[in-house]
Amino acid sequence: MARVVVDVMLKPEILDPQGQAIARKLPQMGFEGVTGVRQGKRFEVELEGPADEAALEQVRKIAETLLANPVIENFEVFVE
């Protein structure tokens, strides 16, 4: 059994109002020096078998068809 992680992030050019709201709050909380926050999503995909190349290819397919919307998001797949 293996765990494959898919990180999904908005493309840099896409406005992220949620990240902006978090960034705006930080100075009020006393956290200084943060110039920006962008919010993404992390998916942990549990596999029945090993995370071999075929399994990773399938997770990439899952990521590009469902977990991420390639119009606005990029994703990264890695084994943890």
Binding site: E13, I14, L15, P17, Q18, A21, L66, L67, N69, V71, I72
Partner: protein, 226 residues
């Protein structure tokens, strides 16, 4: 002359399917209830994807509805010319299905917005807007959480140059959409998606105006004349 049959798809979490069916009836067509889990469009002449929160907006608004069994029928039919109108969540589903370019993101304000919205009709020659005149102003309710239309700069430029912005927000942009875009269409003009809800503006008893009826009478007129 037979009555036009306009399908309204209900997904788990759809809210406005009844209002959409009512608007279809008021426009003089026969509404046909379609179910997300059936791979069957029941021979309808046009389809409305109604507003709501299909699958609870889990993952992204419209992301899971896009893979509903009925979409396997709808996507090729829309590409072949079947008139399809997506309202709010329906617009989000059309973008997720790549029948329309771009995507809908959370409102820039991060608040749910519900207001009577002034709009300008930019395209009066699509399947769903032929009953309006170009430049006509409408007041139609808008109510959404994820209504901020985004696309890459190239796509937005292409939409503007090819005249595929169908309706645009006036006075106030309720969600931060690029170029005040409220609705767009595909190249052929048979697939239209918009965030405001024309089906909530078809009777003075319940809506601010009857300005939304034109979307439904447009399709009926087009089908009868076809």
């Amino acid at each position: 002359m037979s009555t036009a049959r306009v399908g309204v798809i209900t997904f788990p979490g759809s809210l406005d399917d009844r209002d959409a069916a009512r608007a279809v009836r008021l426009a003089g067509a026969e509404p046909v209830a379609l179910w997300h889990a059936d791979k069957d469009l029941r021979g309808v002449d046009a389809v409305v994807l109604p507003g709501g929160f299909s699958y609870g907006d889990y993952l992204r608004a419209g992301a899971i509805a896009r893979f509903a069994p009925i979409m396997e029928e709808l996507v090729p039919a829309a590409k072949a010319g079947l008139p399809v109108l997506g309202v709010c969540n329906g617009f989000q589903i059309l973008c997720e299905s790549h029948l329309l370019p771009g995507a809908l993101r959370p409102n820039a304000s991060l608040h749910f917005v519900c207001r009577d919205q002034r709009l300008r009709v930019e395209r009066a020659d699509t399947a769903w807007t032929s009953g309006y005149t170009e430049g006509q102003e409408l007041v139609i309710p808008v109510k959404n959480q994820d209504g901020c239309y985004v696309a890459d700069a190239e796509t937005v430029a292409e939409l503007e140059e090819s005249g595929r912005v169908v309706v645009r927000y006036l006075d106030l942009n309720p969600n931060g959409s690029l170029n005040d875009i409220a609705g767009i269409c595909n190249e052929a003009g048979n697939v239209v998606g918009l965030m405001p809800h024309p089906e909530h503006a078809v009777e003075t008893l319940t809506g601010p105006t009857t300005d939304g009826l034109g979307f439904f009478t447009s399709i009926v007129k087009g089908l009868v004349n076809a």
